[in-house]
């Protein structure tokens, strides 16, 4: 029973840690399926976390924070589009640049505005997304097995968590069951064909990037005003890259993306739990192994040892209309 309680608590923290990954990986899904590589997910997450914390601090309204986070994230997405779609610049270079701009700007502006070495002010409770206790959670708590799972893993999360899981079927529906989704996937495989059909490649890719910015804005907001109560220097701490890894690990498909993010979130939670503990027979496992595991797994996958990860065919190439 004791083991089960520990397991439930790890599972709960795994869910919390995988939410920012899930939003970000879904964000990357839309841009990469449209043929735009997005190394800049990390920067979008960071910039939106900062914007959300500032807005929530000033207005005391969590939804204003979310709005600001989404807005700034879409701005970053549009800059990426301006460079890589309109000016046909290198998409990797643009992403790297935007990551730097986000990393620097959040600290420079944060220090200038709040004078706390890059931290923003403490966001008041009403400016945060706090946990929602689902109906019956307290009643169910004493039911064996299902009770703790329901009370501690499914219930008690904030609204963004539930939105994240709703986004998974929604993304699937948009990508596979709407005209926009069909065209978006087509433009990532063969933009020439889309252009021949009379659909604007440029506008389609910009729309994909707007969706990317929108979703990444949730991820940043979750970090700064749902998981914590302020923006802290470099608080995304490489999560954008883990999300990118999850996206590849899931072979650019929405439902597997969810499982990949849950897996990587679980590894993170497990690493936190294992810190300083030792396993019988093996001894203390270095926490760095768990930190590196998402990246190692992704490389093993990319090497073709776990199925084949086939990226969208036109990814990373700017489209040039024939002259």
């Amino acid at each position: 029973m004791e083991y089960f309680d520990t397991f439930v608590s790890i599972l709960g923290s795994a869910i919390r840690l995988s939410i920012p990954l899930l939003f970000t990986a879904l964000a990357g899904l839309f841009s990469e399926r449209a043929g735009i590589f997005d190394i800049g997910l990390e920067g979008k997450m960071l910039a939106s976390a900062f914007a959300a914390a500032c807005a929530a601090y000033w207005t005391g309204n969590a939804w204003a924070g979310l709005g600001a986070g989404i807005f700034v994230s879409i701005i970053f997405s549009m800059l990426h589009g301006f460079a890589s779609i309109t000016n046909r610049g290198n998409q990797i270079v643009s992403g790297v640049a935007l990551n730097f701009i986000a990393a620097g700007l959040t600290i420079v502006l944060g220090t200038a505005w709040f004078n706390q070495g890059g931290r923003t002010g403490q966001v008041p409770p009403e400016g945060r997304f706090s946990g929602i206790v689902l109906p019956g959670a307290e009643m169910m708590r004493d039911v064996p097995i299902i009770g703790p799972l329901y009370a501690n893993v499914i219930s008690g999360n904030n609204i963004l968590t539930y939105i994240a899981f709703l986004m998974v079927p929604l993304s699937w529906w948009v990508l596979y069951r709407t005209r926009f989704g069909l065209r978006l996937r087509a433009v990532g495989e063969n933009p020439g064909a889309v252009d021949t059909a009379g659909v604007s490649v440029v506008w389609l890719r910009y729309r994909a990037l707007i969706v990317t910015g929108f979703l990444a804005g949730f991820a940043g907001t979750y970090l700064s005003i749902a998981q914590s109560a302020a923006f802290i220097n470099n608080m995304s701490a490489g999560k954008g890259y883990i999300a990118l890894a999850a996206l590849i690990f899931a072979k650019w498909k929405p439902v597997p993306v969810m499982f990949a993010c849950l897996l990587f979130g679980f590894l993170d939670a497990f690493a936190n739990f294992m810190q300083g503990k030792s396993i019988p027979m093996i001894g203390e496992v270095p926490v760095q192994i768990f930190q590196a595991l998402p990246y190692i797994l992704t490389c093993v996958l990319l090497a073709g040892f776990i199925g084949v990860a086939r990226p969208p065919k036109a990814g990373g190439v700017a489209y040039t209309k024939e002259r």
Binding site: I39, N87, V96, G104, T111, L244, A309
Partner: protein, 367 residues
């Protein structure tokens, strides 16, 4: 006729356009400084004074530049072969392990000039080793080098923290770092070089690796433009299908290009580990690998351009530190913003001004 296919003379392509992009990047940086309520011109003055005003300031500037030359060359060599190596950061980090192992094992017995060649080889070998798997995955398995090198940056960071915390740490000490190298494991400062110009180096860690960096610039130039291998790499970079058709072995060329790139990145650790801190520390690369991307882009992947761009970024790093001291409102991270803007304008938006330049050029020459 579209402007994209109009040829422009080299002085516009390699001179005017990069310069204009750079100016744009600095204008936007000035805008940020102005937005937080400081005077951009005053800030620029502090920055330049802080980077070039005194002997030790110049020493620090050149010290940073040395690291950036190595990582810039690393990115450039891969770039010539059409490979985007984002992993210079991790390769430099693991390269530090090679340099440190050599320094730790030889510093008791021999003077620095005996250690140095072994350390150069050690750093390069370890850096190259860290580039090998991504290179092999790209060449044999077709997995994207950008993604794998990013992954290897993180794997390398985890590995190095593990080694420093659990293996190399000095018993009884808290800091995760190796013991301090003796004089035999350190690279001496170049105070005599500064003295030639009547400058005092002071505490600045400007050291012999600067000369190694310049030698590497020459060797990279030889390799890329004067050898068969360099020719094959450039062909591959311009058109992989043409290269394969011409009988250039794809797998071999990709792997060799990445090994050289990783080796150059690894040598950056000579400067930071053996030249400055005399010990291997956590996070000693401190973003130099990523600066290498900016340096290579700005220097148009040519060694001369890379040296100039590296010095520019050295000025930014050293001057930025001084600036944040003079204007506490502007933190040192302002240089990260400037760096991002430079990459954005000089790299991602490199074609933005081209159509306008073509029109200007056509009007001016009356065509």
């Amino acid at each position: 006729m579209s402007t994209a296919s109009v040829p422009l003379p080299a002085w516009i392509n390699y001179g005017v356009i990069p310069l204009l992009n750079l100016i744009l990047a600095f204008l936007f940086s000035g805008l940020v400084v102005w937005a937080i309520g400081e005077n951009p011109l005053e800030a620029l003055n502090f920055l330049i004074q802080g980077a070039l005003g005194r002997g030790d300031a110049i020493g620090f500037t050149l010290f940073y530049a040395t690291s950036f030359i190595f990582t810039g060359l690393s990115v450039a060599v891969a770039f010539h072969a059409g490979l985007f190596n984002i992993g210079s950061e991790g390769q430099a980090y693991v390269g530090g392990l090679g340099a440190a192992l050599v320094a730790l094992s030889l510093d008791h017995y021999v003077p620095w000039y005996v250690t140095m060649p072994f350390a150069v080889v050690g750093a390069a070998l370890f850096g190259a080793a860290w580039a090998f798997i991504p290179a092999w995955l790209q060449a044999k398995r077709g997995s994207h080098i950008v993604i794998t090198t990013i992954m290897f940056n993180f794997i390398g960071a985890a590995l190095m923290v593990y080694l420093l915390v659990n293996v190399f740490i000095v018993p009884g000490k808290m800091a995760p770092e190796t013991r301090t190298f003796l004089a035999g494991g350190q690279l001496p400062k170049l105070d005599w070089l500064m003295a030639l110009f009547g400058l005092k180096l002071g505490p600045a860690p400007f050291n012999v690796s600067f000369i190694i960096a310049l030698v590497m610039c020459y060797l990279v130039w030889l390799l890329i433009w004067r050898t068969k291998l360099g020719y094959e790499m450039r062909t591959l970079g311009i058109s992989p299908t043409a290269a394969v058709y011409a009988g250039i072995p794809y797998v071999r060329t990709v792997i060799i290009a990445m090994l050289i790139s990783g080796g150059l990145a690894g040598m950056m650790s000579l400067n930071a580990v053996m030249g400055a801190s005399a010990r291997l520390q956590v996070e000693f690369v401190a973003g130099a690998g990523f600066v290498g991307i900016a340096v290579s882009l700005m220097g148009r992947s040519h060694p001369v351009g890379i040296v100039l761009a590296a010095i520019l970024f050295g000025i930014l790093y050293q001057g930025g530190a001084d600036l944040s001291f003079e204007m506490p409102n502007i933190t040192r991270d302002m240089i990260v913003v400037i760096q991002g803007l430079v990459i954005f304008f000089a790299g991602a938006l490199e074609y933005m001004l081209r159509p306008a330049m073509v029109r200007l050029y056509q009007t001016a020459t009356g065509k």
